[in-house]
Amino acid sequence: MSPPFRTASGGRIDRATAVEFIFDGQTLTGHPGDTLASALLAHGRHQVATSITLGRSRGIAAAWAEDPGGLVQVEEPFPEPMLLATTVELFDGLVAHGLPGQGRLADVPDSARYDAVHHHVDVLVVGAGPAGLAAALTAARAGARVALVDEQSEAGGSLLSGTERLDDAPALEWVAAAVAELAGSPEVLHLQRTTAFGSYDDGFVLALERRTDHLGAAAPRHVSRQRVWRIRARSVVVATGAHERPVVFADNDRPGTMLAGAARTFLHRYGVLPGRAAVVFTTNDSAYDTALDLSRAGVHVQAVVDARPEGSPRRREECEAAGIRLLPGAVVTGTQGVERVTHALVAPFADGAVGAGSAIACDLLLVSGGWNPAVHLYSQARGRLRYDEVLGAFLPGERLDGLTVAGSAAGVLDLAGCLADGRRGARAALTALGITPAADDRLPAAPESAVPTAPLVLWRVPDTSGADGSTSFVDLQRDATVADIARAIGAGLRSIEHVKRYTTIGTAHDQGKTSGVLTSGITAELLGIPVQDTGTTTFRPPYTPVAFAALAGRDRGRLFDPERVTALHEWHVAAGAVFEDVGQWKRPRYYPRPGEDMAAAVLRECAAARTGVGILDGSTLGKIDVQGPDAAVLLDRLYTNMMSSLKVGSVRYGVMCGVDGMVIDDGTVLRLAEDRFLVLTTTGGAAKVLDWMEEWVQTEWPDLRVHCTSVTEQWVTLPVVGPRSRDVVGAVFPGVDVSAEAFPFMTWRDTSLEGVPVRLARISFSGELAYEVYVNPWYAVAVWQRLLEAGRPHGITPYGTETMHVLRAEKGYPIIGQDTDGTVTPHDLGMAWAVSKKKPDFIGKRSFARPANADPLRKQLVGLLPVDRETVLPEGSQVVEFLADGELPPPPVPMLGHVTSSYRSAELARPFALALVRGGRERIGETVHVPVDGTLVPAEVTGSVLVDPEGARRDG
């Protein structure tokens, strides 16, 4: 059986198919093509929710996104908060309930897919109403690349809500033909259910396409639920229509109170009668269409209450013919009813004064206070608005390059005008792009419409209820009233922004779509200033709310951020490595054996490297090929030390500073030829250092003949480390004499392995005898395997970054970014030896001479040995003076510095740390304290090199 308020025929719904849904626990039926709101209205249900502060009933007050009343929570198929019943398309199995202004998030992750697509067009048309369709057709016929997006489920815009005719046929026939024509144009993208929600620079418009929401549980899981279209348009035609606005009066929030145009939409588009007995309250001619259409559909229209002294003389005859009582010069002053309007209180209105009133019984009160052009996208694109006294609305106030507003969004409110204006907008856009409009871009003929009677701009009806405006709602979602605005002004506020913030008007889900202009108008009225001076609050994106996940798109889970891996990654995974994130890289941190924790694994790995042989995947180190006759000059300028004196075949460690003299990176440099260097950077510094070099070369020293090329992924780097490394490397690369004499520390040699070029370098980041093996990653797995095989007799042990850190810390080698923090100079690190005194200048040199750099109390890198030989000082711990009584004084406690690196050492058989300590080198031999979990741990300050200070081992 059909629900009681469903018409017998008509509407854009599929009457042959019934869908079942549950609202507030009640099982109801509707049809495909319904919205949740229209289906509820078909059952006679207006009240959807209660208001947030006052708990007053809230009903469906509009037919689309401007509705300030019908907030719902969807529960099935997946919980989604704060949707409007008017924009939720009905599907089988929908479960929803009304919301008191606050939604509920699901407590399980959303498994739906979301994505984004870039699209480029000559002309983007937003809105597929009469103006938008006309614009799209005009642009398409000219051969332009066109996108047409529209937020509704089907094209037609306002034509879906009425009975207009074009070319002597129902207008929707023209709509269908237009859609078909666009579909036949290969360069046209036409998207419905797609809301352009943000308009940015250079024709960039973001639109959200709801791809599968209307399918409910039947939505395919491998297709994105919602898609963000990133449309880059050379020109934009905004044909977004207009929102009807209400007039404010006492108790104007009672369910059954609705915008007049919405009732017409529910009737014609959805086949729903929003009531049986209606009162229509208007200030303009448009609501007469609703009154007459409802009357024809069988609704008893009790009266048309027109605030204008004469009403609409032009429509009077039609009303009389339909038996509708016309009450010109009258207003609705209030309503009666419990959870639904039962009476409208109507009173004569002249010169702003309200006379004695009477109650007219009704279950539907329709209101029209005029139309607000939907200027959101225009305003977001930084177009200035101007207030139009006649329409009582803000209109585009200036022309923008690349963005045209057309149709009722520009204040054109008649059908013929909208069609013509859409075509005008498109032609202007095409002309600006140098595209010739087609000779034949005929538009259908709209019947001649008579000139309407001028609307009356009426923001509010004086409150005669005695409530002093406290039930005259301006923002229904925020429960904000005329009284609240008056109170804000009474408190001294003058700016519309202050009024908004004081009253919270316009901050709710609808972002003031209906309340914004009313607030400007009422504020101006109360202040006695023109509305233009009050202005409006800023229109901010998005136009309608957009789910976080839709904006996150596919950048979630494993695609949230790229994982960079080396050529040996699969081997590391198979070997059971535990990984560490270093920038975007995944690096093996350690390789636990069964039953081992990190400490045990690291002690084992360290011991192998110190006593036998270990092997590391060091491929993430940044590598830069620096070539050209002036390569050495460039490096001399960028490193603190001298690189031009480096011999071909040799390697030098270098430090790089910023212009402020603080260390930014370090690494080794291999001189490959007179005019060619291979520069190694830290893993995290690779991109930064290349950019740094390019910046100086390009912007400051373009005369230098040098080129820098990233070769980070061109070489895997495999340090083979430990006293037995020579045996291993010698066995795998018999072509090289690996003896200390023939291949000394800090030199490199080229060789090959079965025809594949290999480079070996005597570089040690561990203090042990070590060889770094460089090879094209195509052969990484093969070479790694050969090294493991050759090392097996020596117990070769792969080790990770944790062991690498321990080994280097034992040697006092700093890690940039761990032992430094952007406030540390080479001198602070004890690396004065790496700062050239010969070079007249290099980047950072001048800053070393600043007063603060001469401070003897600068923090310097030193070693710390916990006196108890037990405690591993947590990295990050603060260092304080030694306190004889072992008690911390009350805060603030002066701090000397902090622990930057701290490990258990197999070699030292005790924990040790590196720390930046105020005047640290002067304190060597002293004892300081480190607060750890509430106790003070004494630690001896030492030099930073704790293992093999003479360097005998690495020299092998």
Binding site: A49, I52, T53, G55, R56, S57, E80, P81, M82, H97, G101, Q102, G103, L105, P109, D110, Y200, F204, L206, R254, G337, T471, G492, L493, R494, S495, H498, R501, A508, H509, P541, P542, P545, A547, F548, A549, L551, A552, G553, D555, R556, G557, D561, E563, D581, G661, G817, D821, G822, T823, R850, P851, P874, G876, V880, P892, V893, M895, H898, P931
Partner: protein
């Protein structure tokens, strides 16, 4: 009349629905006088707070606050209202902790319900270096008397159950620093509270009054030219975050700040789900749930200089990805509104406060994203500075000449987390 109709669904009263009542009078609409002992340029949080403390602590009331637009309509109206003092360096935690102590008594001091909520702030660590930096900051905070704890992931989950602490995400949460006394407040109400007190003390709050120039006499500024006429000044204080350089350019003072767009956003109102404040540097988002129930979020600054009070949307998209990654339950929360402010970034991410080459002009700028949380602290310290004509010890380290000596207060590498 049917006020208070029954809830159709039997839902309990909406949490956060009842915002406090505002006073009947906030401030007078004033015409500027011809001259004032003190002219504060900029009617934002800092300017208004300075005015309040000038009157309250020092009895100085011949003061004008000049605002080019509407009071507190700049960064004050646009920020995400996080209040904390867990900065690394002594100098920074000094001024911010001073501010936090004032925040703790501010509701009483102002007699205004500023919705100060000490719900704590978590700074998440996602990498081993994050952990080191976090522990370093926590330990420094403790020694400086600032409440701070290091939390392991399971403790993070207890404080904020909706944070994704699983280990199989791209950048797992390795722990967090936690400052329980940190929190949020309602930005507008804070500004209005200061404004009302200043107004009550007889201080003139002059809106729509843009400073267009200065009149000088040797090393002194004698007054300001404004869109509402010339105003004489005994002392001038520049508190115009977002437009400091415009003013200092007029005075020929060079200040090492760059103004960048910083964006923020809110969701619609949601049932309470997020009980604290969470900030993540590596995954790059910060979020709290304000009193009414909206999620308030922000991220990093846009890269280029900009005075446009708007930024690029890709920054928002990246922020949403980070939010959903860290808080999977946010997936179907909706972005309701985005906006932008202007942050003045200094080379060491610390403010610049103190004397200028003009002997009666004080500078207060470069707060980056820290301005809101410092509001009462800097207001009182600036008022002290003006009253004694000598920088308050808490602001002394932030003088302009540190860029010459090199004695920076570099919060970049150290604090890890901005905002």
């Amino acid at each position: 009349m049917s006020l208070g109709s029954s809830h159709a669904t039997g839902t309990p009263p909406t949490p956060g629905a009842d915002l406090p009542e505002h006073p009947d009078l906030l401030w007078r609409d004033t015409e500027p006088k011809r001259t004032y002992d003190v002219v504060i340029v900029g009617g934002g949080g800092h300017g208004l707070a300075t005015a309040h403390y000038l009157a309250k602590n020092h009895g100085i009331t011949d003061v004008a606050v000049l605002e080019k637009g509407w009071l507190a309509g700049g960064n004050m109206a646009r920020n995400t209202t996080i209040i904390r003092s867990n900065y690394l360096w002594d100098e920074s935690s000094g001024i911010y902790e001073h501010a936090l102590k004032l925040w703790e008594g501010l509701e009483d001091d102002l007699g205004y319900p500023i919705l100060f909520s000490q719900r704590g702030v978590l700074n998440l660590a996602h990498t081993l270096q994050d952990v080191r930096d976090s522990v370093r900051r926590v330990e420094a905070n403790k020694l400086n008397g600032v409440d701070a704890e290091w939390l392991e992931p399971d403790e993070v989950r207890k404080v904020c159950p909706v944070v994704n602490t699983s280990t199989d995400i791209r950048y797992p949460v390795l722990g967090a620093t936690y400052q329980p006394r940190a929190g949020i407040a309602k930005h507008d109400f804070v500004a209005w509270g200061f404004a009302r007190r200043a107004d009550e003390a007889g201080i003139d709050l002059v809106q729509d009054c843009e400073v267009t120039g200065f009149t000088t006499d040797g090393d002194r500024v004698t007054g300001v030219r404004t869109t509402r006429g010339a105003i004489g000044a005994g002392t001038v204080v520049l508190c115009a975050a977002g437009h400091t350089s415009v003013l200092t350019d007029m005075l020929g003072i060079r200040v090492p700040i760059q103004s960048h767009p910083l964006q923020a956003l809110v969701s619609e109102l949601l049932e309470p789900v997020h009980p604290t404040v969470v900030m993540s540097n590596a995954v790059h988002v910060y979020v709290s749930q304000a009193h009414k129930g909206e999620l308030v979020m922000g991220a990093g600054v846009d890269s280029y200089n900009g005075y446009g009070q708007r930024g690029a949307f890709h920054v928002i998209e990246r922020q949403m990805a980070a939010a959903v990654e860290l808080f999977p339950v946010f997936a179907r929360a909706h972005l309701l509104r985005t906006w932008g402010g202007i942050v003045d970034v200094s080379p060491d991410a610390s403010p610049i406060v103190g004397r200028t080459p003009y002997e009666n002009v004080y500078l207060n700028c470069g707060w980056g994203t820290g301005g809101f949380k410092a509001t009462p602290g800097i207001g009182s310290a600036l008022a002290h500075t003006i009253a004694h004509d000598e920088p308050h010890p808490l602001v002394a380290p932030f003088s302009l000449d540190r860029f010459v000596t090199g004695a920076l207060v570099d919060e970049h590498g150290a604090a890890a987390v901005a905002h």
